[in-house]
Symmetry: C2
């Protein structure tokens, strides 16, 4: 038995890019999620099939390492495979290759099954994950936590959730949290730095009409890396924590 | 000499859809613009070539008729062709066909050439439009104007332009105006109505950091159609006017 590897090509459209013609982090994540959704669909355990059982896949965390980010009009290749699962979590990996076939992005992610009505995680069902041919393993995979916002030393922006932020799971799509996080960084910073690492953890769903407080601290960590630490709040509730590692343009990524 | 017709297929990804799995109007427009950009590129007058001359294509207006909107995972076909041009404007048409080959969307649009540094429209150059093989015609094509917001009878929302709203023309991408417009309509309205017609006119560019006031009046016109009229303002400046025609779900589109 061998974990099924699934592969898709994707041409990067201009509307998936920023002012510098680089694929945005939100769209990179969208494309990866699209590909894992297609694998599930092809294996007969896609959104439509799960919906019949009142279930939906949700993503709980992902950690993304970016060597270089592909640009508009390039044709990239995305591969993904389920790594293992346990009682509550499924672990999945992604690789993105640029047009020359060079590995440019690696991502690890944690998924779970949501009871759609009750909005609660349910136990992973053997028949739902069997087609991916990934092993059951009791062992919890410990993904490092995002670095923390520095209390009383953060900037913040307010947002109101828009209709178009909501996805078919009837909550805010995971990529929109990234838009709120990125938007706390200013234009000069974003045009002179590149993202080399993202780690985001989703704690609580956000719904239509919610008022969002997106908080951010920018600092150097002990290794001298530039870090932005992010927290997405609704009132006193922490909905998501994330951290991003940045390099000045022109500097090499070690990832 | 025959106007060049250009054709592309596009698979609709889930992240281009709303909570109902329907392609959003912003993404529909993005896809059409992508295809016209690809035609220009293939004919040797794409963004990169124009940029060398300090020029960029900008869209001034489009009117879109929607018979039905395609949904997630469908493979659609988009055709486009330049219709004619005059001293300042280029006219272009789009057709979108759903997976069964049925025409579902028709759009007419007006483009112009922007001097990138001066941010001013320039005269259309013969060599830039010759490859499209569309005729020169002195005649201005009169596209109907969007219906007007009703003064003192509109609702409004405020937005701050985000970094990711900016495109490679270094102004807010045309599709983002649609996001601001749509967001003034409430969840119940958007989930019980479908868009059958959009007419949007872009008057003045919007830049990073601008404060946006998105105004909207909802009314029935003399033909008994449900209309939302929109105005995008920065301070006292009108940046864009738009109107949308809506049908209750279940009613046929006449478009």
């Amino acid at each position: 038995m061998k974990n099924q590897i699934f592969e898709r090509e994707h041409q990067i459209n201009y509307y998936e890019c920023d002012a510098n013609k680089q694929l945005t982090i939100s769209m990179l994540v969208n494309v990866m999620m699209q590909v894992s959704g297609e694998q599930s669909h092809e294996l007969g355990v896609g959104d439509e099939e799960l919906a019949k059982k009142g279930l939906a896949w949700i993503v709980l965390q992902y950690a993304v390492d970016i060597k270089h980010i592909p640009t508009a009009h390039q044709k990239i290749k995305i591969t993904t495979q389920a790594l293992s699962y346990n009682k509550l979590f499924c672990y999945r990996e992604f690789h993105v290759y640029d047009e020359t076939g060079t590995l440019c992005v690696t991502a690890k992610s944690t998924f779970a099954l949501l009871n759609f009505e009750k909005r609660k995680m349910v136990r992973i069902q053997e028949e739902t994950v069997a087609p991916f041919q990934a092993p059951f393993s009791k062992k919890l995979v410990r993904t490092p936590k995002p670095e923390k916002v520095v209390e009383e030393q953060f900037t913040e922006n307010e947002y109101r959730v828009r209709y178009l932020d909501i996805d078919t799971n009837l909550h805010v799509n995971n990529s929109k949290y990234l838009d709120w996080a990125i938007d706390t960084l200013d234009y000069d910073f974003l045009t002179t730095h590149k993202l080399t690492h993202l780690n985001i953890k989703f704690e609580k769903e956000v719904y239509y009409g919610n008022q969002i407080n997106s908080q951010m601290s920018l600092f150097e960590n002990e290794e001298g890396e530039i870090i932005s630490a992010h927290r997405i709040m609704t009132g006193d509730v922490v909905n998501s924590e994330a951290s991003m590692t940045w390099k000045k343009n022109g500097e090499e990524s070690n990832r």
